[in-house]
Structures are given as structure tokens and as C-alpha cells.
Symmetry: C2
Subunit: 541 residues, 2 copies
């Protein structure tokens, strides 16, 4: 007789399990949209069931993809659950892409239904003749706006408020979205129920158990500052729901409204790229208000020491996190160890801006050019590769890029980093942004970090330019703070960098020969610095 009877996974990891606890824990807790509308979790559960019935009515079958074009909303939040819970695939359409790219992604994902906010109706109408798989479109109309009979609210209202969601194979694909690389068509990343659940559990445990300086627990109030189409708001709405906390979805990111919502709901947990933090700080400073108690995870681009310090002056605790579209996304958070709790405020600031410490179950390695693992130490810089139970299996319909992503059994981040003796990862560059000068690597992130600390500097980006003698040389692009004198700024900032050379922090040859003062910096569709565009500036001028 078999020693251990076969275990048949009677409880596969399914997104619907996230609703088990809040259903009874916090049915009266509220979910807010902008400032116009809110309802309880109890209502949310009913609406998820109604939405599932609507999907059935639209003929959606397991495996079908459903595209969403919306700002951050309670509707989007409902789609986060109902679509995968029915066995369909949620395609969070990146509305910041060009119309051609949006069309490409909808056709490539084979969306059969689109949920489209009024703001994007004209866009979709124009591409309608070119849509190859879409059968139905459901309009998303804001509270207060007209609600045609074929739009979301009237259609939900017609459905039953209970639904018997199936137990799905945990490897069922739950979500997909497209990332734009430097070249070629957008690539479709996808995540299974299992991966999203393990991200929720592993990251959730990391953020709940380790609290200095960032924690996410049941007494927090949550609002994203990362769009829901961008790696499902970093997976944080799933964690927030399991915890049963108050959630605020701010609609389109308008600085004035964002600040009002942060204050009105006393939001304690948010996350976003540095540009968004910058926006919030500026808005708060101009309004003369503080945001004490707000904790923000910052990723997407490096959080500079200067920005972190300005956040602190507003009462915001900014903390670096790191991840990428392919990793669900969170991999590291710059949590402090208990021994570091007593560090000076200045030292702590330095620690918050480190890429971070790997979250539970995340395994990291630094590989040299031959694929061999490097030991810790800032002198051992190489490509960061990772493993963990929530990383994507690859790219939709692209076996070649999938294999390349996972070569050697590790997910290749394309980031250049080293690991210190204490286990923290320090990113120094994107592989494609690396600057090699006289055979040595110059870290653009380090230069940006040092420059950002100067009082003159609002934003900064460093890229490499071809150089006959050295191969490449760094060039800094600087946006000055309001009122700063542009004429002398370049010389002042070069002197500023020289002080770090004098203290042995920076190599002499890493100081850029050129510091360009510019009015603004180009950004990508998700708000990151667009270094490719900056480099293009250099070759065309």
C-alpha cells in the first residue's frame, strides 16, 4: 500500500481566497473612488458577483482575455477580482502607450471584451475597425455622469449579487499587461493565480512583519499612486483586500485631488515612482500642508537621497522598493535591521535609498559577464538575477524572449548591481544605461543621487555619450528648482561633485564633463526617466 495517500490539492491557490477573510472581518470597511463615491466591502463582494454574471452574459469563457482602459477606480478594483476569479485573463491596458501600441496590445492579448472609461471612448472608437478579437465593449461612466443602458452600472444592477466561483487550477493565467522595451513591439507579461497569491502572501508577510521604516498592516489606509494598469498597482490592492483596510482609488492622477484625498482619508500607505512623490511634495509644499503618517514605497526609478529628505520635511516616510513588470513586481524593500534602528537620522536616510533587502522567498545573485556568481562587495558589480515563486513564466507568444529572460534558470533583470555584506542589493544602473569610461563602470544612479542632494536641483538624469578617447563619458541633465540661477548652476554642481571626490566617495573620472541645464526631462509611459530619449538628444545635437 502507498505510504502517503495522494494529495490532490483540494485548495489550489486562487485569488478568490483573498476574499475569505475580509468578507467577515471588515464588511463595513469602505472603498472610495476619487471623493465622489464610496461603498462598503460588503457591497464590493456583491458587485464582484454581479460583474461575474455580466461576464457570463457577455459569453466570456475560461482563458478569454478582458481588456480594461480606466483610471484608478472602484470598477477597476472589481475587475481585478471578478475577471480572474471566473477563469478569464485580466488585461490591464497601458493607456499611456501610443494609440498604435494600445491597438497592438489589445489584438495581441486577444481581448474579447473591453471595459472602457468615457475618457477613452473616442480613442477606442477610432481603432474599432482594426480590433481583431473584441466582441463587446462595456462603457465605464463616472458617478454623476450619464449612465447609458449599455454601461457598467446599469448592467451590474441587473445581475444577481451571489455567484459560485469555480476552483481553478492555480496555474491558470490571471492577468496580463504589456511592457515597452527600448526596441521592438511591447511584450506581454502574464501572471497566474498562484503567482499573484504568493506575491500577496510573501510580500504581505514581509511588509507586515518588518516595519522599519515601511509596514502595511490592518490599521493602515491604502491609496495607490501607481496606476492600476502598471503591474496591477504593484499587487498592493490584493494585499490591501486581504487585510481588509480602507482603500481609496483616486481616478486620474490630478495633483490637487491626490493631495486632497491623502489628507481627507489620512492615507498611511501608498507607492509610486519618484515623479509621483515629487508631485505630491510639490503640491503639499505649495498648499502649506504636511502629510505626517504617510508611508510611501518608491520604485521604478531610484529614490534619491535629496527627494527622500524633502519627503521627510513634509512628514512623508519614503522608502525604496525594487521590482519590475516581470516580477509581479516586488523583490526588495530597503527595510532596516533592528541594529540600524538607532542610526542617526542622516544615516537612516542613506539606508532608505538603497535598492533594498530581498523580500521573503526572493533569491538574488549577481552574475559576472560569464554568468558566474559574484561575492558581496561594491567592487563586484554585475547583472542582478533573481528567483522566487511569483516571477512571470515569460512573455505571451514569445518563446524566444521567454527563454532569454530565464536563461540558466534565473530571471535576468537587466539591472546592474552589487550586494553588500549585510545582504542589501545596490542597483548601479540599467544594463542598457551602463556608462563605461576608460574601461571602468560609471554609475549613473550614483551621480544622480549625489546631484539630487544639492539645493539647486529639482530633477536630474545622467546618461553616457560616445567619446573618442574614453569610449563613453557621463553627461548630466539637470532641472533646476524654481528661482535657481541657471547661468552658474553647472559650475556650482561640478564643485559639489568634486567635494565627494575629495571625500573618496566618487572616482575623479566619474565627474561628468558636461552638466546641461534643461527645462524638463523626458518620461516614459509609466513616468520613469526616458534615458533613451536623452541619449537621442546627444547624438542629434
Amino acid at each position: 500500500m502507498k505510504r502517503y495517500p495522494d494529495y490532490a490539492h483540494p485548495s489550489p491557490l486562487n485569488i478568490k481566497s483573498l476574499l475569505l477573510r475580509p468578507r467577515y472581518w471588515s464588511p463595513e470597511q469602505r472603498i472610495h473612488y476619487r471623493g465622489d463615491y464610496s461603498h462598503t466591502y460588503a457591497e464590493f463582494f456583491k458587485r464582484v458577483a454581479q460583474l461575474a454574471h455580466l461576464l457570463d452574459r457577455l459569453g466570456v469563457k475560461p482563458g478569454d482575455a478582458i481588456g480594461v482602459l480606466d483610471w484608478d477606480s472602484h470598477r477597476y478594483f472589481e475587475l481585478f477580482f471578478a475577471v480572474p476569479m471566473c477563469g478569464a485573463v485580466l488585461h490591464t491596458v497601458n493607456i499611456r502607450l501610443s494609440p498604435e501600441q494600445i491597438l497592438y496590445t489589445i489584438n495581441h492579448a486577444e481581448d474579447v471584451v473591453l471595459f472602457v472609461h468615457d475618457d477613452f471612448q473616442a480613442l477606442i472608437e477610432k481603432m474599432r475597425p482594426s480590433l481583431t478579437s473584441v466582441r463587446s465593449i462595456v462603457r465605464l461612466c463616472d458617478p454623476g455622469a450619464a449612465q447609458p443602458a449599455d454601461s457598467y452600472e446599469p448592467r451590474l444592477a441587473a445581475e444577481s449579487t451571489t455567484y459560485d466561483f469555480p476552483d481553478l487550477d492555480e496555474n491558470t493565467v490571471a492577468t496580463t499587461f504589456y511592457t515597452t522595451g527600448t526596441t521592438g513591439d511591447p511584450k506581454g507579461v502574464f501572471f497566474t493565480h498562484r503567482q499573484l497569491m504568493l506575491h500577496t502572501l510573501g510580500v504581505g508577510l514581509g511588509l507586515a512583519a518588518f516595519g522599519d521604516p515601511f509596514s502595511f498592516r490592518q490599521d493602515d489606509v491604502y491609496m495607490p499612486l501607481t496606476p492600476m494598469f502598471h503591474v496591477h498597482s504593484w499587487g498592493m490592492p490584493y494585499i490591501a483586500t486581504l487585510l481588509g483596510v480602507k482603500q481609496v482609488y483616486p481616478g486620474r492622477y490630478e495633483p490637487e485631488r491626490l493631495l486632497r484625498l491623502l489628507l481627507e482619508h489620512r492615507v498611511t500607505v501608498t507607492h509610486g515612482v519618484p515623479t509621483l512623490l515629487h508631485m505630491v511634495i510639490t503640491q503639499a509644499t505649495n498648499a502649506g500642508v504636511r502629510l505626517d503618517g504617510l508611508k510611501m514605497l518608491v520604485a521604478g526609478s531610484a529614490l534619491s537621497r535629496g527627494l527622500c529628505e524633502r519627503a521627510r520635511e513634509c512628514g512623508i516616510q519614503a522608502t525604496t522598493a525594487y521590482g519590475m513588470s516581470e516580477t509581479c513586481p516586488l523583490l526588495t524593500v530597503s527595510h532596516l535591521k533592528p541594529a540600524q534602528a538607532r542610526a542617526s537620522a542622516d544615516e537612516r536616510l542613506g539606508l532608505f535609498t538603497v535598492t533594498g533587502f530581498p523580500l521573503p522567498l526572493v533569491e538574488t545573485r549577481i552574475l559576472d559577464e560569464n554568468g558566474a556568481a559574484l561575492p558581496p562587495g561594491p567592487e563586484h558589480v554585475g547583472e542582478l538575477v533573481v528567483r522566487g515563486p511569483w516571477l512571470t513564466g515569460g512573455y505571451a507568444r514569445n518563446e524566444e524572449r521567454s527563454r532569454e529572460l530565464w536563461r540558466g534558470g534565473w530571471l535576468h533583470t537587466g539591472d546592474v548591481a552589487y550586494r553588500d555584506e549585510a545582504g542589501y542589493v545596490h542597483l548601479t544602473d540599467r544594463l542598457k544605461d551602463v556608462i563605461k569610461s576608460g574601461g571602468e563602470w560609471v554609475s549613473s544612479l550614483e551621480l544622480e543621487n549625489l546631484l539630487s542632494q544639492h539645493a539647486l536641483v529639482s530633477e536630474v538624469a545622467v546618461v553616457g555619450t560616445k567619446d573618442e578617447r574614453w569610449g563613453e563619458r557621463p553627461v548630466a541633465f539637470v532641472v533646476l528648482r524654481a528661482g535657481a540661477a541657471a547661468a552658474t548652476a553647472g559650475a556650482t554642481l561640478r564643485e559639489h561633485l568634486q567635494t565627494f571626490v575629495g571625500r573618496g566617495v566618487l572616482q575623479r573620472w566619474a565627474v561628468p564633463d558636461e552638466i546641461r541645464i534643461v527645462a524638463e526631462l523626458p518620461k516614459t509611459s509609466v513616468g520613469k526617466l526616458n534615458k533613451r530619449a536623452l541619449r537621442a538628444t546627444l547624438t542629434t545635437t
Copy 2:
């Protein structure tokens, strides 16, 4: 072309992943044994590697079972990791069973190697001729005692301190142990890597994110008061390790040493049956010391309000948890909702002694006698059944009992309970301890709870006795507190119960006709009240 490339689980859920974070987070953190010995996590990682080499040297192959007979120790803790990480099965032998039962479990589990503490050498020597699968025995000798060449420490010392642990299929069985029912041979429960990992993540998240009144986070100090052979100390050593906290293993449970360790290491997190809490309170009271800051999860038997109150008087926050051997074990914790935080101290006490709120991913139902789900409400009492990703698949070599356990796709707890409107589970009895009097169910747990609140009462147990007129009637067995007068106690306690009848808390017919004052109550091998033995007393007298 396939839309989504096959995702091949490059990161199965393996116990070894729990070591990824503490390896760099807290290598200097310490693991203590009794008060005699300690070493760092860094040392622990090396010893786990050495132990793995030792297992190889002993010819252990994947799937082989390894039996351990030891008190709670750093060695046991190492075996918790090294054995499953090699693909073998850790058999935590219940040393409280009778010698015949111990022999049965070792042969039934097919242990090929035994790790045996000096205290159990004589026991094992005696049964050696009857051991059918054991090939090798490794002696476990305490620091300070003689360390023969064939014992644990010298053998570990001879091995390399690094080991390349394999990636295992996550459904590989990791642990097994035996539960004793009321009848028949002990049954072998088993857990896979996946189940232990999901218990660690789900329970870990629940205990880190929900903190009132019990939390387990990175700044805690951990010591078990549940033996390591009993459902792997409720899986808490795995959570403690992921968090990288200081851990204290107290050896054999001797009251004086337990109190000394709790005080010396300022332990903040522990767990155990009510008997152990009772022991700690008594010891602390006698020593005239307080244990402020100690949080204890209490399960195995109901935590009575009286005991919870006496714990509070010592500075201990006792909180009810619930689970069973078959469920890894934790299912519920009596966490308070934010709205309850402002309840009076007295109300809070009542809430801490409720069976609890289901942990994340745990699904519960109450079934009537026909297997239909019952709605919430104290009037809807039935059998509690559960689902969740960390429940055992069944019993070793016992397809019939496995199927019975999982009939209808739900794990049958054998406990009688109801669920209230707020989602909390209230256990009223073990199915086998149910008392049915005049066609109505009498809750033995409720009677015990009410009796325990009286100042005279130290311990109490209520069982049913056959009654011609009513079918069954409850009988209470009471151990009085030191100095209480036995002669009048029965009448006083009956009066005490009548006050609850007067207040409508208790039905008139639920008051026991007989309250027996006894010197002590019989306990099972894991320290729970042995109601079977009590009922036997009634039929033989």
C-alpha cells in the same frame, strides 16, 4: 503558437527558502538551548549543512523517514530543516505515548535512522529487537554531558559546513507524526513542503498584520511551550526562522527552568495548551514575579476566561487559537477587530477566549447532521469543517480514514461549533464529548468556562454520564485551588452556575446534577484533558 508559454515552476515551495532571508538579515541573531548553550543563526546554517552531510553518510535517500526522540532543543530545530531539505521525511516521535505505541509509530513510519536523546536511550534499547526498519541510531547528548564518537556533535563536526540542497517537488512529504484517537492505533498525519510553506506564509501574515492582542513580528523573542513533536511546535519555529528572531528552546519542560528562560530572554511570543499556561502562572505567582510583555497563543483545549484573567494578572496576554494535528495546525486566532479595540477590559477578556477568527486562506463551514451548511448564529450548532492550503492530505497507509477525514471535499474536524454574525467560530464541544440531555445539546466547554471563573476553581472538566430519564446528564470534575474548603465547594459552585441561569446565559437544565471535587484531572500525552478517562471513571464507579 501557444499564447502563454508553459510555466514550469522554477521556484517550487521548499522549506529551504525560509532560510534565504535570515541568512543575511540576522546571521548574528542567537538560538538558545535551555540556558546552557547558544549559537548564532550563521552557525545554525552551517550545522544544517553538516547534518545534511551526516544524513547522506548514513545512506538516507529521498522519501526515507527519520525519527527523532528529543526534548525541545537546537538539535531538534536543525532536524526540522535538514531532514526535509534533503527530501527525507521528519518523523517527530511523540515521546508521551506508551512504549508500545512509540514502537508502533516508528515501525509504521518506517524510520531508517533515529536521533535519540540520552533520556530515551534505555527505552529504545529495550525495543531495539522489535524495530523493523531502523538501520542507525544517532545519540543526542546535552552540552556538558559525555559526547561519544558516534553521537550528534562529534559526527556533525566531522562534516563540511556547506551543502547544495536540491530543489524538491513541493508535494514531497516533509514531516509526519502520529495522533492518538479514542480508539485504534495511532494515525500518521503528514505534511508536504508546500503545506508547511503555505502555513508559514498564511499564518505568518495573519500574525504579523493583525496585532490585537497577539502579533508575531521581527522584534519578538520566541520560545515554544508546545513540544516540538506536537505538530512541529504548531509550525511556529518555521515562522520564527523566516522572521530571523531570537529563539529559545527550553529542553524538557521543567517549571522552574521555563520561568527562568522566559524572564532571562524576555520572551514575547509563546504558545501552548492551557495546562502549560497554568504551570507558568503558578510558577510565576509562587516566585512573586511578573511576565509583562509575554504573548501566548493557547490552543489544544479551550482557554477559559478564568485562566485568561489570571494570566493577565501576571502580565501575560493569553489569546485563544484553534487547530488540530491534521491542520498543520493553526486555523483560527481570536484576533480583535479594530472596532473592538475600545471594548472594556472585561469585554476584551470575553473575546480572547472565543475560538477565533479564521486565518487568511482558511475557509470554514458548520454542517448539520445531513451535511448541509448552517447559517451563523449560536442556535446553529453543527460540525466544523474546513478547507485551506495547509491541511493534511490524510493518514499514512490509511486510505479509508483519509477519505473519511475529507468526505465531501472538506476536512472534518470532529468539533462541534457555531459561527457568529461577525465571523468568529465558537467551539462548543468535541463531537465525541458532546452531551445530549433531554434532546438538547449541553456545551461542556461553556460549563467549564463558567466554572473556571470562580475563585475556588483551579481546573475543571465536564463530561456526560448516561441517564435513564434524560439520555445524558453533565457531570463536573473540579480541582480546587490550594486552601479551598472541599466540603462546601460543590454547593457554592452550583450556586455560581445558577447565577448564570438567572442572567439567561445558561439553560436551567445545563447545570450539572453532580460536581465532583477531585485532586487532579487525567491528561493525554500532549497535556490535554483526557475526557475518555473521566467518562471511564463514571461507568466503573
